[in-house]
Symmetry: C2
Subunit: 218 residues, 2 copies
């Protein structure tokens, strides 16, 4: 009975890592659909989000079952609570990737992003994807040091966002309102994905050290 219980706890961690990698794939495809105005890839991101949603349901059910039947204490309890919060973060990251794909789809066959902002979006996407990839490693290895380092990448995301506003609000902006609105929202989506990656990392810190982060999202 107790062995099965520990197996179940391990399975939850494995499934969180898998779910984080699924989110990373969704994010990569969403960015690709955006930068290449590829409607098929955008549709894939949108339809495959149901897999991320069902990852979530499966992990939640398993965690609830363990909470209800095993009445775990101390570190196991902490782990299950953290898992419930992490799946919520991960599901939102999947939804945000879908939002990116939907902007891409809306503007097909045109690329939603004007040329001068393509490098900014590319870098935002790189930062976000790297943060999600590192979050998967952090969860797999319970790596508190790497978790703390993740917050620094989040600062680059904020700087990229500010620079995109400077470009859009400059007198030389020649693309009108629509691409600016798209860019403002896309910047917000990537920024939120990065915030949730930081949040995942903070949950691992909590899991290992018992420290509660002072804020849900940075």
């Amino acid at each position: 009975m107790r062995d099965a219980y520990f197996d179940q706890l391990d399975t939850i961690v494995d499934e969180l890592v898998t779910m984080t990698r699924d989110v990373k794939v969704a994010l990569r495809k969403a960015t690709l659909s955006l930068l290449t105005a590829d409607v098929e890839i955008a549709e894939q991101v949108i339809s495959e989000d149901s897999r991320i949603d069902s990852d979530r349901e499966r992990i939640e059910e398993r965690a609830f079952e363990l909470l209800a039947l095993q009445q775990p204490v101390a570190s196991d309890l902490r782990m299950l609570i953290a898992a419930l919060r992490m799946v919520a973060d991960l599901e939102r990251m999947g939804d945000l990737s879908v939002h990116v794909a939907k902007v891409a789809r809306l503007r097909v066959p045109v690329v939603a992003i004007p040329d001068e902002l393509v490098p900014t979006i590319e870098r935002m996407a790189e930062v976000a994807e790297s943060m999600v990839g590192r979050a998967a490693e952090i969860i797999a290895n319970r790596d508190v040091e790497a978790a703390r380092a993740l917050e620094e990448s989040d600062e680059e995301m904020d700087a990229l966002r500010r620079s995109s506003f400077r470009v859009m609000l400059d007198d030389s902006w020649a693309h009108g309102v629509e691409p600016a609105v798209d860019m403002a929202l896309l910047g917000r989506y990537y920024e939120r994905i990065a915030d949730h990656a930081v949040s995942l990392a903070r949950r691992v810190v909590y899991l290992v050290t018992g420290e509660i982060a002072t804020s849900e999202a940075p």
Copy 2:
């Protein structure tokens, strides 16, 4: 001992209701600062958000204590898990109100919203505020019927958002990029507040019926 335990559970519900009302006040003030370009009110929303954050910490600590020390089962366990999720929703709603106030502050002494979009923002704010107020009642009374009805208000929010895009992207739009970008983001903030209100209501449905909502956010 058990009496103190039930008192603690009741206290958590009371504190969730209080926190929801604090969020409603933050949202109302944020909208007021936005529509009147009032920097003092905007600053209040920003500085008073720390109260919402500490509401959250207090409720979380209480819930963790009960989870760890009392090993609650069945409906009490469900209630504590729901409470942990609800404080996360509520904290985000506070953060989103801060985002609204920051847009207001950034454009002072000018009102960020052009005249023709003021009625749309007013209605978005009304819908969001009413949803938050109803969420407080739903939590206080564990009202499953009212919780289910809340999803309909969320549809009005989506319609308002679409209509704001039609105005901004019309050829007659004469305000340039900046107010359009502000409006796109503000619309997103109000929409997300409404999403979180729906999420709060779904947690109450889960609490009362045991049904898990299929999605974190609508």
